[in-house]
Amino acid sequence: MFLTNWFQHTAGWPYPVAWTVAQLILIVVYQGVVMVSVAFWILADRKIWAAVQMRRGPNVVGAFGLLQTFADAMKFMFKEPVIPAAANKVIFLLAPIISATLAFSAWAVVPLDNGWVIADINVGVLYLFAISSLGVYGVIMGGWASNSKYGFLSALRSAAQMVSYEVSIGFVIVTVLIFAGSLNLSDIVRAQGPDIRGWYLFSPLAPMLVVMFISSLAETQRPPFDLLEAESELVAGYMVEYSSTPFLLYFLGEYMNIILLCALMSIMFLGGWLPPVAVFPFTAVPGVLWLLLKIMVLFFMVSMVKAFVPRYRYDQLMRLGWKVLLPVSMAWVVVAAGWVVFVRPALAHVFGG
């Protein structure tokens, strides 16, 4: 808004041009920040993992190893990209690009603070859900195009896994929508105001955060559900044949999806940018820092799971998804609807709104 005004009045451009340029600058800066932050999330992941195993983790490049991820990225970029002779070249190169593009475009609707959002669309949650359900194409196209049995088997595994767990994520989202009464992510956060008492973590929806957390691990192929790269069976997953920048794009997309799902969970259950207590010292802190803090807590849990939970077997994974999480989340849709229709008005009547 500020940029638009500046271009319109100081530079004297017509409104559509000013708006477009301002939005483009905003998008580039936003994605740049997200991409650089991914470097530190990866470092944090490795450090947490190292701490659990009583190692030091990366500590050589930069202070505390802060620049380690940048060094790794540089290394990947300057390597020679190897494309297998039998691969389908177009799809082979298209797949990681799709993966990374989708991971970036999902961030467009994530509200960092009240009004700090690129596209404040009415169906924000559905958009996120749609984008994350497209993520499976990056995987399956990459696995198929590399023309390798390992890569293809792994792509099939992960595609089946992602499709299965998306169903329960969908139902979890439905329960939150029923409570918030809106599909707009900002409205969902506002519905959880003003402080910690309003967060859906402290409502009958609490079990859904657990379901969502487990499903997110499966959706992003994190351990204990990283069956696509079960090294003992499948070498290194659907990206076996990838090297250099295409591999980097996959890697980047994977981590961005993890952080995105952490952000989504913070927004849906932990009140997004809202402070835990709505009194002075807490309300003075910018909302984006509260959101960041919540994402950090969730990301820490994701990392810890990677550090100490053993890998599931494939049939156990499918059993958990279809026979445990799906019925629970479906039942909770009924519970949530019943709560909103019958219990909430009664409570409002008793406590006077």
Binding site: P16, I91, I121, N122, V123, L126, Y127, F129, A130, S133, L134, V136, Y137, I140, M141, W144, F152, L156, A159, V163, E166, G170, L183, D315, Q316, R319
Partner: protein, 202 residues
């Protein structure tokens, strides 16, 4: 306005192009990928119409679930589609006939002083005062809830039918029973035996 027109022509052109490629592509995997592109652009057209909920659902259901299964089948079967397509030219005439008929009907329907039913006015993509999603929910779950339930029942019957048709019981299959495994206690799993030297345990 001009941006909208440009967006419409872009979506429509890509949609038509990918539709043609779906039919003509030699490699069936390309066909499915272009089908996905077609779905995606159709979703773009929905967004232009203001039917944002339908757009997202189109992507979630068709692109995110149905087309993945298509892709699975096409990639795994490895059917020689060029062999299958050999007789395809023979279908050209009937196909053109049906297509032409549909086109003519569309022309008649749109050109013949066509009114949107006054009752359907409230079902427009963006009725004043409510969002598209809320309007759709109102139509489906409040105004026409019985029809909606009947549609759901029909789908349920179809689903059960598919399961019954493919279900077969096999004797002697060993399955993991997670609950019995978890609920097993030390009392059933272990036996404490006092073995005397030189005798061993029975």
């Amino acid at each position: 306005m001009i941006l909208q027109a440009l967006a419409f022509y872009m979506f429509a052109a890509i949609l038509l192009f990918s539709g043609v490629v779906v039919v003509t592509a030699k490699n069936p995997v390309y066909s499915v990928l272009f089908l996905i592109l077609a779905f995606f652009n159709a979703a773009g057209l929905f967004v232009l119409l203001g039917a944002e909920f339908l757009a997202m659902i189109l992507v979630v259901v068709y692109v995110g679930a149905v087309a993945v299964l298509f892709l699975f089948v096409v990639m795994m079967l490895g059917v020689d589609f060029t062999e299958l397509k050999k007789g395809a030219q023979g279908y050209l005439l009937p196909g053109l006939g049906i297509g032409g008929l549909l086109l003519a009907e569309l022309f008649i329907a749109v050109a013949y002083d066509w009114h949107i039913a006054p009752h359907a006015q409230s079902a427009a993509a963006n009725p004043p005062g409510v969002t598209n999603t809320a309007a759709l929910g109102h139509i489906l779950y409040t105004d026409y809830v019985y029809y909606f339930e009947v549609a759901g029942l029909i789908l349920l019957v179809a689903m059960i039918g598919a399961i019954v048709l493919t279900l077969r019981h096999r004797a002697g299959v060993k399955r993991q029973k997670a609950w019995t495994q978890i609920s097993r206690g030390p009392a059933e799993a272990m036996a404490m035996v006092d073995a005397k030297p030189g005798e061993g345990v029975e």
